[in-house]
Assembly symmetry: C2
Homo-oligomer: 346 residues x 2
């Protein structure tokens, strides 16, 4: 059996005090080489593997763990390249900070974020319902940052100029001469089924709503179909539903994955892209297997968003205030949009 040896045992064996031994391991204070060596020898001898993180964290108040709370199932979340890139940014900035990432889900199953020794938390892919969680975390004194969350929660929000970015795309399409457009949106709220959405109802998921608003700045009353999430297959499903009933000359998808699905569906129906149907995406990710098409899309700095989360966290952890950050997307023209009007394929 291992792990019954404590730092006190080591200290005793080395003939020093526990505090000295502790310092040898943490390296926070100078210790003479000789005693340090003696302590290390004793540790090796007894099979002591370093301070117990549980005890250390009780004493220091730091666990080295940052919770990332996701609203979607992990499987869904990890399907989305943007989520992954953002996570990647978070991970690397947080690693720099000496911490690791604990995956949490805001549901009944996973251990509550409040039952786990967190130094800080990130609420990721937020929905309205997260507000309670934010509150209880804050009350515990745990710094919270949110990605695309609600500004009214009173914690820093790392977000995108969703509406403006989507409006740029809409302007681009309008400038090409399109009038009949449809939107394939991301999830409408945390539970909704996919389907057509009337103009009157607003999505509760923030970025879905904002991007839609961007389209509406330009087009009065677009057809809107909300997909189940961001994937090629959901895009195919949405496009088929739309094209079964309508004849838009352009479809604006709220993600590149959805756009790729729209293109695939269009092609299978004998429509040419962009001659018969223009398609735009959102995200600016590389979609595996979409060539020779190059999506007309907005590129979002997902990785940088993740880094920004880490920066905010580190400020908060230092007791400073951290500002919200709103990133700007950049327009990336491709070959999937063109003026409308060429007649349907013969």
């Amino acid at each position: 059996m291992a792990s019954k040896v404590t730092i006190a045992d080591v200290a005793r064996a080395a003939g020093v005090s526990a505090s000295t031994a502790s310092v040898v391991f943490s390296g926070k204070i100078k210790v003479s080489d000789e005693t340090a060596a003696r302590v290390r020898a004793a540790a090796a001898d007894l099979g002591y593997r370093g301070p117990d993180p549980r005890a250390a964290s009780l004493r220091t108040g730091r666990s080295g763990i940052v919770g990332v709370v996701m609203t979607a199932s992990l499987r869904t979340a990890f399907l989305d390249p943007i989520a992954i890139a953002t996570m990647d940014g978070i991970v690397s900035s947080v690693a720099h900070l000496g911490a690791g990432i604990l995956l949490l889900r805001d549901d009944g199953h996973t251990p509550a974020a409040t039952e786990v020794p967190l130094d800080a938390a990130v609420i990721f892919g937020s929905h309205r319902e997260s507000s309670e969680l934010v509150k209880s975390l804050s009350e515990r004194g745990i710094p919270v940052v949110t990605v695309e969350g609600d500004p009214t929660w009173g914690v820093p929000v790392i977000s995108l100029d969703n509406a403006d970015a989507q409006a740029q795309l809409a302007h681009h399409v309008a400038g090409l001469g399109h009038h009949e457009v449809a939107v394939v949106s991301l999830r409408w709220n945390s539970t909704a089924e996919p389907g057509f959405q009337s103009a009157s109802e607003a999505p509760t998921i923030d970025f879905t709503r904002e991007r839609l608003a961007g389209v509406r700045e330009v087009f009065d009353n677009p057809i809107v179909f909300s997909a189940r999430g961001s994937s090629v297959d959901f895009g195919i499903e949405a496009a088929n539903a739309i094209l079964d009933h309508h004849q838009p000359t352009a479809i604006l998808a709220q993600s590149d994955l959805l756009a790729a699905g729209v293109i695939r569906a269009a092609i299978e129906r004998g429509l040419r892209v962009p001659e018969d149907l223009s398609v735009t995406g959102f995200d600016g990710v590389v979609v595996d297997g979409l060539a020779p098409y190059q999506l007309t899309t907005m590129h979002q700095p997902a990785y940088d968003k993740g880094r920004a989360v880490g920066d905010a966290l580190s400020r908060l952890l230092d007791g400073e205030v951290a500002p919200s950050v709103r990133f700007t997307c950049t327009f990336r023209p491709g070959n999937t949009t063109a003026p409308p009007g060429r007649s349907p394929v013969s």
Copy 2:
């Protein structure tokens, strides 16, 4: 400011002892409704949000955290649908166990797995270099399970019959009459560049080696090109390299994603699949956008592998022994293999 209130404060305010208050929160022992109510009221009053997880974990020896150590960067790891499905299985089985997943990377940056309060650890996507980590974790008394790891580490291994499965595919192809075959392998070791590999050198990544061995059971000296990882684009790259210099009638890819890339590259070169080139995959995942092709492949139960990890962990945590589990892949015929010999496209 919050979080300065301890359970002792609450107890005092409620006029009970700390232990009673503790029990009210843990619910492990009966407490009269009346006192429980008084304690809760006091807690609400003082803004006490429940026991501090750090202190609780020092006392109980449990943190509710399972570390998952990945060898690749998250970005890379999460590109692979198999990795995601396995993670998903781990997450759900571990959640059942009341624990969360801490993402760790076996490099210099992320906090060492030994500096964080883990109840157990999973070594995921193992390579030879992980053996030290396994050792130091075990010495701390932290149960370890590995996915596709090395049996000699002395911890349970959840794995696949890689060699047999790949051999089945090779037999299938041989049975069709192919003689000239090439292999597109997964990463050769943790650092290698993509490229042709001679027969003499063995990969240090276990499943790459095992699957290759499966091919070699059937074909003496296949051409081998090791890709940079598992993706459609890497498959395209590999196939182009192979087809530039060789004329195999079949290519066995070590993953479905790679196989999809091979198919795409072949088509772009004017080869018909399977008439001019047979292609097999490995994994049995749905590759977005591969239709109308249906890969001939081996299906691996990735999610179940993840569940098995959780099962093993929970046994280990209960002080029992956990057996290694080797899952069996199942052959899934598709339309990407056929007898060779039709002449090249005219």
